[in-house]
Symmetry: D3
Subunit: 333 residues, 6 copies
């Protein structure tokens, strides 16, 4: 029985396959009996799961965040959301010890990730830093990209709101940077090097803010300092390491990084005071919001012309227009 993607499951489906444990919590039901409340994930998303007392007796676990588990379950609906009623669960490790056949176990399937080829995106950004941004900013960006290559390839763009998955930061950075290239053609008087260095590095601090990309959580420095200043300091340190020769240019790049949230209420200690900083701020915000809209539209399988209310976006979204979207590419363009 091949893996069924979580995003494809519907009420009544029976599943017998592997999942990633994204959250795990022990609880007690009204009658005082313990049960297990899990969030199980694969590359397509996540779903709540319950392991009731009776099942728990046979499958005691323990099960912890990050475990890969084999599961038999039924898809049910509870309060209007789907969840898995688990009949059997065990860790891959334990199953292996029990000598079970793990032929269909494919760790690649279990972790939600960007649909893009992460290595290719990273190479594209690297290429841009090498040939599309002039010294001294180009070499600075290149140095940073290579120093944090491993983290860049896996880090999510956010804990929850947008691109919250493996490679999400890379995908977001790549979109914002490509958009900036397009915008620079419209506004050629802007400093191209600054804008591109700004977009590539604007969210670098996410690497220190978020840990454990497959099931992301915020680090202590992420909580107490925030990615805006963490990223700024990483770039500043890299520039010092390179004896960056143009302090006036550097401070403008630093300004872009610190002001990229656009207003102080949103956590930037300074507001954009250059056109380059304003552009990076807008393109970052736009990509995040478009992605949040897409995610919310996809997650809303209900009827009606409008989605449920989205708290982060502070609005509901119109769904009716999806069918009206361009069914075929326009041959004239």
């Amino acid at each position: 029985m091949p893996h069924q993607l979580i995003s494809d499951l519907k009420e009544g489906d029976a599943v017998q396959q592997y999942f990633l444990v994204r959250q795990a919590e022990s609880r007690t039901d009204k009658t005082g009996k313990p049960y297990l409340s899990l969030a199980l994930g694969d590359k397509s998303g996540a779903m709540a799961a319950k392991v009731w007392n009776k099942v728990l007796a046979k499958c005691p676990g323990p099960f912890a965040q990050g475990d890969h588990v084999g599961v038999q379950a039924q898809v049910e609906s509870y309060n209007g959301e789907l969840q898995l009623n688990v009949r059997y669960i065990n860790t891959v490790e334990a199953l292996r010890d029990l000598g079970r056949d793990l032929q269909e176990y494919d760790p690649e399937l279990l972790c939600q990730a960007t649909p893009y080829d992460r290595e290719a995106l990273w190479q594209e950004l690297r290429q841009l830093a090498e040939t599309g941004i002039r010294p001294p900013l180009g070499p600075l960006v290149l140095t940073v990209l290579e120093r944090y290559r491993e983290e860049f390839l896996v880090c999510p763009a956010a804990l929850r709101y947008h691109h919250p998955y493996l490679g999400g930061l890379l995908e977001h950075t790549w979109f914002v940077t490509r958009h900036a290239l397009a915008s620079l053609a419209i506004y050629p008087e802007l400093n191209r090097d600054l804008v591109l260095a700004g977009t590539i590095l604007h969210d670098l601090g996410k690497i220190k803010e978020l840990a454990n990309p497959p099931a992301p959580e915020r680090t202590v420095p992420g909580h107490l300092l925030g990615h805006v200043v963490l990223g700024w300091e990483m770039v500043r340190a890299a520039a010092q390491g390179l004896d960056f020769p143009d302090p006036t240019l550097l401070v403008q790049l630093e300004h872009i990084l610190l002001s990229h949230h656009g207003t102080m209420e949103f956590g930037s200690p300074v507001v954009p005071k250059t056109r380059e900083a304003l552009l990076v701020n807008f393109l970052d915000d736009l990509d995040a919001k478009l992605k949040m809209m897409s995610q919310h539209l996809e997650s809303d399988a209900g009827e009606g012309d409008f989605t449920s209310y989205n708290r982060a976006l502070q609005r509901d979204l119109y769904k009716g227009g999806l069918a009206a979207a361009d069914p075929e590419p326009d041959p004239d363009q």
Copy 2:
């Protein structure tokens, strides 16, 4: 003596040339003598001017908004701003009646206008509506563009804040639309027709909000109703006239027009609930703010690394980075 552009005047210059009267007000000085306070303009901007009692005796006028006048004056500085101390002033009409030689009078020079070829911009938008936006939206945009051709060619984009000059609306619309074309390549899942119709038409209501393009002022409907709803109604009426066949598509375009200010605080009665509306909102806001920044940087001739505080932008701007901008195009791109 050839025309000296207002933007090139400096303290101590003597001028003998023609201007457009952009504002005119009679006042009395502390000793009870009347004088005239004017704003004189040419294509490069505007400057305050004073006609003192003594001069006024010889040049009684009257002078009204919109008059073309011949002027002899001295450029002085008052409270840190340049102004013209007028020694002689008369209307072109009166000068003509007096049989003066008006050889150097060139009305083209007197009115501030977009530096772009307005006819060319309009044709470009028309072309896009005709071949780049599919029916039924394409023909609707085309109809509106042609119906309001005359107004579109002259209307400013705003009373004061950005592009406040002849053809400013066209320039702003053209920038936002070209930017949208670039953005659609990054976000191809958006409905291209809606986005492009939205950018071309988003500020259409300015045509009814602002009157007298050479010296723009707000109309009564502009004041009491606002350009957001005025433009929406113009498009809705045009669609009715064309028996627009797809109400679902039309309401999405209408939504873009009504929501393009992004939030209710900024005068949109609804917030963007589609990705297309969000994109138009961002690109409009970005172009206006970048233009305001450019205008403010240009108008600040003082020393120091930062401009004076700009109220509309609620910040001062960094000037020091201008020299760091790209001196030559990058041959690699």
Copy 3:
């Protein structure tokens, strides 16, 4: 067994009567069994109802929003709120097909509506337009009232917050208009025609914003455009149809309609810039808030001197003063 009003039901009551289905949703309980979650209504309000798996087997439905149904049920309390535990349910249509006696079925009883005589209210407004508002505003109001007579007689005043029932718009409009008549006696310098036309027409757009009055929902144009501009455009179109002769007067009426929410944050694209617009804004807001207060006080059957917190009003309300209200009219006044 005569119809028991929902507002009179209490825990433990048994009911055997007819209801309107205001909402219907299929769900699954914790053990994976389907059940039906309904909102059943009559003229006095609405109550949640559950049709559990076992009952559903006998009464499979389907049941959809708008259906009239016969029901046997028990009134129970769940999380402090009353709900109906359904033992039998079938549509009136099916019952008729089964040859059941529908003697006690009275559709009039099932739908929540204004307690006032709708026809009489409408006639009163019509009369005012005809004899109390001078031309050209009077005939304009009259035309609009008659064109939308059918919708005006049924439309609610809001989806949820105030007067959310059949004829709610009419009731609200009638209160605001009568209050305006009283206010004009205090402030006679205000333009009486404008104020009265403004109050009668201020919420006209609700007719296009809300559909299905017995179980109201927001339409797509209601969501994407909003009733403020929809109503404005309806009046503007009507005025064009009448060749309204006084554009200055018309734009003031339009201004009242667009600004009646008082501030931009509340969805008016412009703020009131005339005294007439300010008065309409205040009387509209006051009637809505007084009604919300009355509704909240009535719905709070609990003990204690204060109601629960009301989100829309952002406060709790004092209940203790109700007994202190004037029990009999004061003979001296």
Copy 4:
């Protein structure tokens, strides 16, 4: 030469008459010479006045706030506002000592005051308290009205924003109370006694907040405690003095007084939690804003369809509609 009202003066007028000194300040001009900057008032308003060094030599004063002065002056325009260029000035007292004929001196003309008969308004409120509000609230209101009769007859309604003149509080209170009587006919379920006691007493604290009615200024308690709580305490003390028998009723009246600013941002320590309190809050706010609008429209003598920006109202106002106002009462109503 009869008294010319300040509101009727225009540029170029010569005046020779009496004024009230509303403000007086000694200043030095740029060349180091002293001059006097005054605000001179009469019953129609106030105007700035300058007594230059040269004049001051002959008319040394001193001139203090509250003085009645005889003045010869020229009306001039300075920075777009009218002011008096004083040629002669002396106090009425000094003129009397000099044996001048003061035949045209009429103190009644000098002080800005409500156009209504203050005694009549007070009697009307008194009458209402006596016969229109039932015990125990009626006698409480009556007691307060009589205890503060002298102050009520002269106190302004505000320092600057609305009704800032002799009897302004009375006029404002009378309007709000009459409006409340009209509103109670529309909303008869509200507690009439509470509403009327609330409107009559809502601004009572102004009596302690403002001193010196002819040229009002804020007292120290007015500054440090504010009229909202001062008025509340005055009523509470009066009720204690009367052994007010119904504490539940009293606390509701107290609540109306404390919450009448409507929100905490506007200085009410609590928000309205009864319908009676909400109504008083709305009618108070409405009367103040309508009056501010009227005052601003009257004070704007300039051309154009819109007034200058009014800071307190945070908007400009439409003037064009004034001509459209009802020229004759409608005989049908």
Copy 5:
């Protein structure tokens, strides 16, 4: 079996002891059977409790807020929070009537209270008023302290947010006052008498705002008038009773009381306009927030470096640093 403190209970514990009923509500479960939902408290806190239908049959009650009850129960976990599954419950009164041995019943244990010796704190404040604050403020403070001695000894500092227990007001007042003594050493130019009178009296109105200290609830005057003005009026009345000789000094103390919430949004009708008022405002706010932080940290027994989100504080808190706190006093200081 000795009393187990609620704060020490964990899942699975069996309890057989006495509690205070802090809240009591009758409910019905899904199957229509009644049960009882209680909040049971002791001096260490409170816990939810359920008395299911079967148990209720044997122990019918009634049970009301404020009752002392004997209970047998099991500690269970429900939705991640502990609750008591009650097997037997009866009031102490009924148990006494039944002749039960109440040897272990100790009312002192049942009510949550400040850990400090209340009598000692009160004496310390009294001492300060007597010898540390000069006349006339000292005697005023002394009079108020003694007049409200009983209430001061029991009143909580708030309904819910900080120090919500017996003697909480006293503890909070004592902390703020001691802090003020320390601050005055740093800022000796502030008026010491005013500051100390201000801190001791700043929350006096809580005595009238909150009733029933063991299970606090807000009174009607507390709701409709608020503690800020109630406390101010109590002090004002006391000063009148003493013929307070210095009105200028008194109005400054009154200002401190009215402005101690710091801004109008937070319910002060005036903002602090003296340094003394500012200091009291800061020290009050600081003590409340530090206490809320401590309470939230203590209540969060979960894993992880950060607490759950605290709504009142609008943030989560860092827990990881607790271990790093100073284990032993520093001998050098």
Copy 6:
């Protein structure tokens, strides 16, 4: 003629002494003649000065910010503020070249500075770091203090709002730190080392934000990055240089520095999430506000019980209470 302090000058005084040029700007008067607008300072404050055209001819300068100048002038009042009408001005340097007697020239008098002994304050902080803060925080603070000793001794605490003078940062830091020592006695459960390290270092970034302490101005990094993050990075770099052994402790100190503005609106990228951070935030804010109040009270020499409106504090201040302040220390305390 000995130096007269600026704070002691009054209208009509003649001065012949030395000043520091704090600002210098060339302007043109209405008739087109150039004049010089200066701000001249000494240790007691600053005053505007004008050098009119006629004087300028004899004293052409140039005069630049930072120059020490000898001046003869008259104190005049202009628009209610005092200013110097300069009759002679020359730089000390030029006067020296001219062989003038500079006997009364004392540079110490010219620069506004903290009234405290800066060296002593610094030593006190140093001492505290050495013996009052335990390792590893103590040595970190010590290192930073010594590395930036020169800057710490001169840097102002702010550009304009509070302590805007030589040594202002040191004075502010010393007050906040001493207050923290006092507060720790009240709240001993807080981590003493963290609090004290936090107060000493909280505004360290001012050293890079502000340049030219005698006439402070904001640097480019100060403008584009801000002192909050600049200071954080300085401490972080110092800790790295010391191989700071406890990363958990360090991140808490860093959190205090980044969060010390209390809210994001005020430029902190994170809000205080520990009690230590909250305390530092409050004590910093309190000292700044108390100082601003003291400065504003001192600068207001006018009559009346209240100062003019202070924009930074958004209020006026009560002056009347000053006389009521404690005239003699209370012997009992």
